[in-house]
Amino acid sequence: MKITLSLLTAGLFLTACSNDKTPEEKKSVTETETTKNDESIDDDFVLPQPIVLATAFRDAGLTYQPGKTNPVSAKDKYSLKIDQLLNLGVYSTDLAYCALNSKSQEARDYLSAVQSLGDKVGLSSVFSDKAMIERFDKSLDDPKALEGMIYELQEKSESYMQDNDLRHLSAVQFAGAWTEGMFLGIDDARKKATLGVAIVDQMVLLESTIKGLQNQPTEDARLKTILSSFQDILATYGNFSSVKAASKNANFEAPKLTPAEFDQLAQKITALRTSIVSPSKK
């Protein structure tokens, strides 16, 4: 496929030259050289869904705190696609967090925010399924059914991205979802040991999140800034003495962070989360 596309590119390029096309037009032709089923990378991964991360936190003792999630009203202030994707992830976690804590009306509001940003990033066919939204509304009083609907929605979203060769978008969305989950959990983690373990457990996702952000097809200044924040958190975490002393095997006992290390991690995650939900603020 790649060869034929290259030939096509060459052929069209020759035609374009003979027809005195502009450099921009030539560029757009050469940029079509992509294939859907290129060979997979040697070391790949499956990132969990935001609702799974939120469930792990809930199971570890995280309770609902009003006013901690990103306000739904903020959804219209994200003008860059990268910010829309990141906050689609943030809102996906907020949606799951509310639903798992039986805050059904708040969950419904976050579904609207997810729909709104989903439309903007080109996933309208996933989030505009009227029948599904109606079923969601009918499930508002049934937390288990609501949970099931969120799984269904995330499955549809994931399948759509995979089928349409948009997996790179899901990596950015996941980065936002991971950050929001960590932000919601980290303050309580110092008080509850089980939650502290859950936070450390989810740090294992940071490397894959960074890989996902690095594999974006386009260079983007905003993405670079976000990526460097993630890399900074990974480097900081890796330098903690408790982490250095622990096994590299994620199945073994998780590192027990000291209060000072927790504070430092919380500070970094809060700063990253602020830069995602309020992109104009530094």
Binding site: T4, S18, E39, D44, L47, Q49, Q162, N249
Partner: protein, 166 residues
């Protein structure tokens, strides 16, 4: 000038035809992959779908290794449905508790000659085996799936992994 234009147009038309034929091939391949993904989803039965990974590779004269890392944050049972029906080369699947660069790495289970079939793996079974090998560990939270692909006929192939939890 007219001759060059005619030639390039003929060339483009020819290439478009070849490309369309190739795209049809890709479309058929992709349809087969989607069918197999659907079969894997069905194998999850009552487990909730959590994600999937399609590992594409070009089979050929040399051996190769592909890895997929998965996470199990919940204490629930996880189910992995794998389809190797689109794999014709000799395939060994190895399940490890860590990546290749981690010193304390344990092989949990190995499946030899597993090309050309659909099957499932349960975390309950894996945890039983793992606790025997590494008693100090409570349960698996992180699993590394290695596909060791042998040499064979040149072809574009794929292995489908679908995961869910109960």
């Amino acid at each position: 000038m007219r001759t060059i234009q005619s030639l390039t147009l003929y060339l483009s038309f020819f290439v478009l035809l070849v490309s369309a034929a190739s795209a049809d091939g890709d479309g058929a391949f992709e349809a087969q992959i989607n069918t197999l993904k659907g079969e894997c989803k069905a194998l999850l039965k009552d487990a909730r779908y959590e994600g999937a990974k399609i590992t594409y590779y070009n089979a050929g004269a040399s051996k190769q290794v592909k890895n997929v890392e998965v996470f199990m944050f919940l204490s629930n049972e996880y189910v992995y449905a794998i389809s190797t029906k689109k794999c014709s080369v000799p395939l060994t699947i190895r399940l490890y508790d860590a990546a290749a660069d981690v010193e304390e790495r344990t092989l949990i289970k190995e499946y030899k000659n597993y090309q050309g079939k659909n099957f499932t793996i349960s975390s309950v079974e894996l945890n039983k085996i793992y606790r025997k090998k590494v008693p100090e560990v409570e349960r698996l939270k992180n699993l590394h799936i290695e596909y060791a692909l042998g040499a064979g006929k040149t072809a574009k192939e794929a292995i489908i992994l679908v995961m869910g939890h109960k």
